[in-house]
Structure formats: structure tokens, C-alpha cells
């Protein structure tokens, strides 16, 4: 199909990279990526993916824009206070790149709705702000065979992990169970600096582009840990746990919602880049 003159002009700085080129740009245009959370991590991630020409972005968020968001959630603005983050975010992304199709899902992702919400997407970026959602996203992506880029940030620490379902470590392989409420603070409780979220959210978008374009080494089986106070990065090796509850050899989580709550099976299908 080729690129239009406008696309060539808009994406010229990435087109000239051998890792991108016309073929890569067309792959981005065909891609559909879901972002869980249009906040601190979702903001830079969505902006960079929209700017790069990803064809379809799905924003999943149930919150409205609050004043306390604006120090780091650059997708939004003072004028959007009180608006749904999905709407505010979609407007900003379309202004940046009108060619990107933005689907808004103004809802809180749960174990119950995750499989259906994520079914139309080829890649998921988890920038949510709570553990139940994160584990639901992880489980849905593993069960649905959807690659997942997980990122988290609080105070001066950030982490990124890329999950290639059933091939590399998933969130439960690394952290088998979520903490009880209050054990690990949220950004509201412990605070965070804006650029911390920028660093991690940008890294998440970068991972997504690497996966979609098929270059470099993803953060699969490697947990990236960022110490903002020291401005240091390190990666620690992690691995698929044969005893993992969702992707292990004898997994107990085989459908969502979990069997104890009742629910239907999810068709397992592997989506490959």
C-alpha cells in the first residue's frame, strides 16, 4: 500500500531508521494497542505511540481528570479538569495525530470484563494504579495470548517487565500474589515525581515499538528496575515459574473470572508479532 506524502513527512525521523522503514511504519499503522490507565504512565506511552503512528489505540480508564493528576499526567490539561480521562486523552491524541484511531473504554478493568475488553487488541500496556487491576490484566493477557508491557512507578522507583505469554515470565511468575491493601503504597499515599512516570511510561512505549517493529531485545525475562534518586537503571533476570498460577505447568487460573467466582473459559490463542 505504501505511505502517503503526509505520512512520509510526519514519520520521516523514524522512517530513516533501518529498524523502521516503510515496512515497519505499515506494521505500526496496522497495530492496535490497549493502554490500561490514561494517567501517569499512560500519558507518555499513549503520546509516543500516537506520535509514532500506531493505527489504533484503546484507552481504558474510569477516572476523571483531577488537579492532583496534572503534575505528571501530561495527556490532560487544566481545561479538562472533571472530564473523563478517556475523553480528554482521546482529544489530545487526535490533536497530535489525527490518523490514529482512538477507542475509549470509560470503565474500570476487572477480572470479569478484562477478556472482552482486551480481545480486540494485539498488545497491552499496563499503566494502571492498583494491584487487582494489574493482576487481572496479567491473567487476561496470559490466557488470551496477548503480549503485555507492565510498568509501575511510586516515589523514586519504577519497574518495567514485558510478558510474552507462556514464553517469558509473567507478573505472577515474578510476584505470585498481590500484597494486602496498604502493604505497598500507591502514588497518592507515597507520592511520585512527574518525570519518574515519564521515564517509565516512555520505556513502556519504547518496548511496545520494539515488539511491533521486531528489533532489539525486549524486557522479557528481565525486570528493569529504575532508581530515580540515584538515576540508575538495572535489570534483574526473572523467569517463567513452572509453578505459576496462570502460566505454569499446572496452572490453577485457567479462566477469568477465577473459578471460585464462576465464569466461562477464555479461548487461548497466541498472537505473535
Amino acid at each position: 500500500m505504501g505511505l502517503t506524502k503526509e505520512e512520509i513527512a510526519r514519520y520521516s525521523r523514524q522512517l530513516i531508521l533501518p529498524e523502521v522503514g516503510v515496512g515497519g511504519q505499515e506494521r505500526l499503522r496496522r497495530a492496535s494497542v490497549a493502554l490500561i490507565g490514561a494517567g501517569g504512565l499512560g500519558s507518555p506511552a499513549a503520546l509516543y505511540l500516537a506520535g509514532s503512528g500506531v493505527g489504533t489505540l484503546g484507552l481504558i480508564d474510569s477516572d476523571e481528570v483531577a488537579a492532583s493528576d496534572l503534575h505528571r499526567q501530561l495527556l490532560h490539561a487544566t481545561a479538562s479538569l472533571g472530564r473523563a480521562k478517556t475523553e480528554s486523552g482521546a482529544e489530545r491524541l487526535r490533536a497530535l495525530n489525527p490518523a490514529v484511531k482512538v477507542r475509549t473504554h470509560r470503565t474500570r478493568l476487572t477480572a470479569e470484563n478484562a477478556p472482552e475488553l482486551l480481545a480486540g487488541y494485539q498488545l497491552v500496556l499496563d499503566g494502571s494504579d492498583n494491584f487487582p487491576t494489574r493482576y487481572a490484566v496479567n491473567d487476561a493477557c496470559v490466557l488470551g495470548g496477548i503480549p503485555l508491557v507492565h510498568g509501575g512507578v511510586v516515589q523514586f522507583r519504577g519497574q518495567v517487565l514485558t510478558v510474552l505469554p507462556r514464553r517469558s515470565a509473567c507478573l505472577r511468575c515474578v510476584f505470585p500474589e498481590p500484597p494486602e491493601p496498604g502493604a505497598i503504597p500507591s502514588c497518592r499515599e507515597a507520592g511520585v515525581l512527574g518525570p519518574e512516570a515519564g521515564v517509565i511510561g516512555s520505556l513502556m512505549a519504547h518496548e511496545a515499538l520494539k515488539l511491533m517493529l521486531g528489533f532489539g531485545t525486549p524486557l522479557a525475562d528481565r525486570l528493569l528496575v529504575f532508581d530515580g534518586a540515584a538515576s540508575s537503571f538495572r535489570t534483574v533476570p526473572v523467569r517463567r515459574d513452572p509453578a505459576c498460577a496462570v502460566c505454569g505447568d499446572h496452572s490453577t487460573i485457567v479462566s477469568l473470572p477465577p473459578a471460585s467466582a464462576g465464569g466461562s473459559c477464555v479461548q487461548h490463542s497466541q498472537r505473535e508479532w
Partner: protein, 91 residues
């Protein structure tokens, strides 16, 4: 020399803001005991009442996950680095 324990940010308020603490011990369990002696209150954030590692915390000895080694009985020696890495949900 001793063993360097890297403290995650959420726990640094219990270690006087230190991101690294030098501890003595021959196993991870011993190191955590020494860490608790030096900075009371840290261990209960990492281990449960039975002394088992909480399932949202990972401990690495020189970048090896102790769950794939000998757990808290994993031996450590002078100069080793023990990293405590908890899950993060913030976004």
C-alpha cells in the same frame, strides 16, 4: 567486607533513608535477621509471621532469584549483593 543489601524505596524510611545497608550473615535468612536488628520493622514488610518471604517481594542474591535457589537458606558470602524488589502498582 559484608553483604550489601539494597533496600527498595518504599522501605527506606525504615532504614534512615539508606538505599544500601551492610549486613552480616551466611544465608539470606541470616542477612534479613541482621537487617532487622539494625533497622527494626523492615523484616515484617518483607516476611510474614511465619518468616516466609511475602509473595509480592522478590529477593535476589547477585541477580539470582532466591526462589530458584535455596529460598531464604540460599547462602551468601562477603561481597555479595542482596536486592529486595517488591511489586509496584503505581501508575
Amino acid at each position: 567486607m559484608a553483604v550489601t543489601v539494597r533496600i527498595p524505596t518504599p522501605l527506606q524510611r525504615l532504614t534512615n533513608g539508606q538505599g544500601e545497608v551492610a549486613c552480616d550473615g551466611t544465608t539470606v535468612a541470616g542477612i534479613l535477621e541482621d537487617l532487622e536488628r539494625k533497622h527494626p520493622g523492615v523484616r515484617e514488610r518483607i516476611c510474614d509471621e511465619q518468616g516466609k518471604l511475602r509473595r509480592f517481594v522478590n529477593v535476589f542474591v547477585n541477580e539470582e532469584d532466591i526462589r530458584f535457589l535455596q529460598g531464604d537458606q540460599t547462602s551468601v558470602k562477603d561481597g555479595d549483593e542482596v536486592s529486595i524488589i517488591p511489586a509496584i502498582a503505581g501508575g
